[in-house]
Symmetry: C2
Subunit: 482 residues, 2 copies
Amino acid sequence: MNTAQSALVEAVRVALGDKAVVTDRHDIAPWESDWRGRYHGHAPAILAPDTAEGVATILALAYAQGVPLVPQGGNTSMVGGATPPADGSALILSLRRMNRIRAISAADNLAVAEAGVILADLHAAVGEQGRRFPLTLGARGSATIGGLTSTNAGGTQVLRFGTMRGLVAGIEAVLPDGSVHAGLAALKKDNRGYDLNQLLIGAEGTLGIITAVTLRLVPAATDRAVAWVAVADPADALALLRRLEAATQAIEGFEIIPGDSLQLVLDHIPGTRAPLAGTHRWHVLIEATASDAQEEAPAALLERLLAPAIAEGQVADAVIAASEAQAEAFWRIRDSLSEAERASGPAAQHDISVPVADMPRFMIEAAAACEARFPGVRASAFGHLGDGNVHFHVRAPAGADPALWYAGDGPAITRFVNDLVVAAGGSISAEHGIGQMKLHELERLSAPARLAALRAIKGALDPRWIMNPGKLVALAPIPRAP
Amino acid sequence: MNTAQSALVEAVRVALGDKAVVTDRHDIAPWESDWRGRYHGHAPAILAPDTAEGVATILALAYAQGVPLVPQGGNTSMVGGATPPADGSALILSLRRMNRIRAISAADNLAVAEAGVILADLHAAVGEQGRRFPLTLGARGSATIGGLTSTNAGGTQVLRFGTMRGLVAGIEAVLPDGSVHAGLAALKKDNRGYDLNQLLIGAEGTLGIITAVTLRLVPAATDRAVAWVAVADPADALALLRRLEAATQAIEGFEIIPGDSLQLVLDHIPGTRAPLAGTHRWHVLIEATASDAQEEAPAALLERLLAPAIAEGQVADAVIAASEAQAEAFWRIRDSLSEAERASGPAAQHDISVPVADMPRFMIEAAAACEARFPGVRASAFGHLGDGNVHFHVRAPAGADPALWYAGDGPAITRFVNDLVVAAGGSISAEHGIGQMKLHELERLSAPARLAALRAIKGALDPRWIMNPGKLVALAPIPRAP
């Protein structure tokens, strides 16, 4: 711990008490690496305030001392966004003790949750009042509201309800100098200059610390139906989605899954079985919900809408889960795709988006281009077709050495895929953010105007560059390889 | 015209041709004042490029020369946001020649419109393809897409479809140094750092010039119904809205109108008549639409939903327009409120928002507080109750001298009303923006942290402070009266 860090730690201990400071190596260690074990950092201490005032105190002190801070919620970043630098130059600022749900108003369809509230806990709390917070993802048992907001998280219900950006109605945050942005009021209209809330959403903790968020709720679902559908190709899948959306607003999940990914799940995940007989090249998992007994039952709705699609040949085969257990089994296949893939060997994974209409062609052509350019790999994409966002994964040739692959072909493939994404007008980070993992690729692939704007904003709001250093935007242009 | 301006004008003439430069005083004059005649400025020339490249050329030159520019679309600002400074220090940058609709995709529900496209023209063009751009307002015959985006415009359909912020899928803009932000791609998910599109929306041209926008469309409406409803007070009106919204997603207009405002319309606007017999203290105009023949007809829907509200006494009386002509007549009353008020004498007008649930009480209590504090005035609020946004108007005592009123009591009342809004956690500009009209009040009422952040962002992206000077944020803190 350097002198400035020591001074900060002692000052925080005096101001906020012993509970707000963690210096025991054993307690710190689990938070120094990301959950996938790809990034390893070092932090001499964790600061853990339990109020917004405490956060403000810490930031004012850190700003004065010039001590970098890495904010952390559930530490579930996919891009190393919450892992401290390896040189020990930063302390971790944990928001986990700020875990109160300050208010739930069922009548207003609003909840106010502190940054450290775990998503699953919020789901449960609003559920007790007949409401639902309509964003969910695999890490819901660990991911926190502050992190979800700071990364503009997505998930499997974005199709109907949008990402965090659309679900956040207000933000309380502490800016890098310790001043407080009091923006929790849920104003549907507010044109008082630049929208600081929107700027903080997706800023990955580089512009300040979100301490609490006002969230929009929807009525709890009263019924759902889950269908498993086989289609010839992604184009037919998208046409099916458009048919469904033209007829109903009840569709909230629409996940495309290639046949070989399904096969990996059947091969590697115990207890799974194929929902449909026969072999199909593409599959779609569809979920429809109702929140009112007066609405058409989702199962009847899907049956009614899928029948003509089958008759016309747009859908090759389809089954609607006959029970909640079967619905869960269908979703388990979807949720096991990454795990099954990991079990089968190393892969280069990409969370990318292109305009929705272009995605079917991109999925086919980009996979073919990868397989042609890197002989022996298998490329395939699965996920949120209706959002124009898929997880585009390229699996190493059978028998590839993982260490060699991740050091050599893996990054080369990532650059190749990202080039294709940029050529298609897409984004190299659809929902996972930049963190440290995508920093170099963002620099390599962004227009100079865009990078200059990101740096200017960062420098304007965090002039000492102490908030989550080394994430999202680099202090100076990263030198490009010759 | 000063030397730098002359040099810029000549350089633009050479680069973009004579059509891109207007120096005739008669041609400039109409654009030097706002449409309500409250703000009068002076611009030695208008620059009028017709391509994004032309805008980039102009900004690069202006940046190099340090010449301030005031962007202008339809010049329909409610807050003097498009009026140049009086000292002639700025040129007008008109986007009106950039009026192409570059693309409409009915299948994707997207359109790409240049900044100078007039809203009504966009409505017509997408209508021909069975689509609707679901934002409209009184100035639709003049207001342009660039201005609507730069001011995050609202209007009467925000309840269902949101403000421009929710309807913009992509932005092409030129940053102050002439570099181009190419963000038109309609990516539903894109987490590549700070969201520059969201930052430009509502920035009032102070951070760069929006040159084209990708807009979300919805299916064209196939049917609508308009109801006029009498209620006892705003609380009952909000309860009615919640009842309707719990049962249907078809409600897209819900405008509250006080009885005395209706009376002003009946007194001053020829050809209007009260939709309901008898006298009522509060009225609500409700519009429901359908975009599919399979949906319940909106008139039947409203009848079905209003019947129990009448039976329970939540609604005192109601009528559903029996014809499109009658529906238009109901809307004409709503759209004539401001005109009728102007005909009755001077008034201090405020476009404000508070959290939706607090609005009924605010409307009553703030009006009473105004009338108690300023004897003889009449305060009332009308508008978008479901958005938590009303136009809160305070009319001068009968016989007040307009010039004296606007110089003395008017501003005092505005400060009084704005104080009440801030105390209620609301916004002093819900949908009109800050422009030059609200600049002092924004400074007076914002937290120092917020003002510092606005200034820092402005200075970071426009270091010479040449984009729309004197609007939205002041270069230095405005001295406060002792």
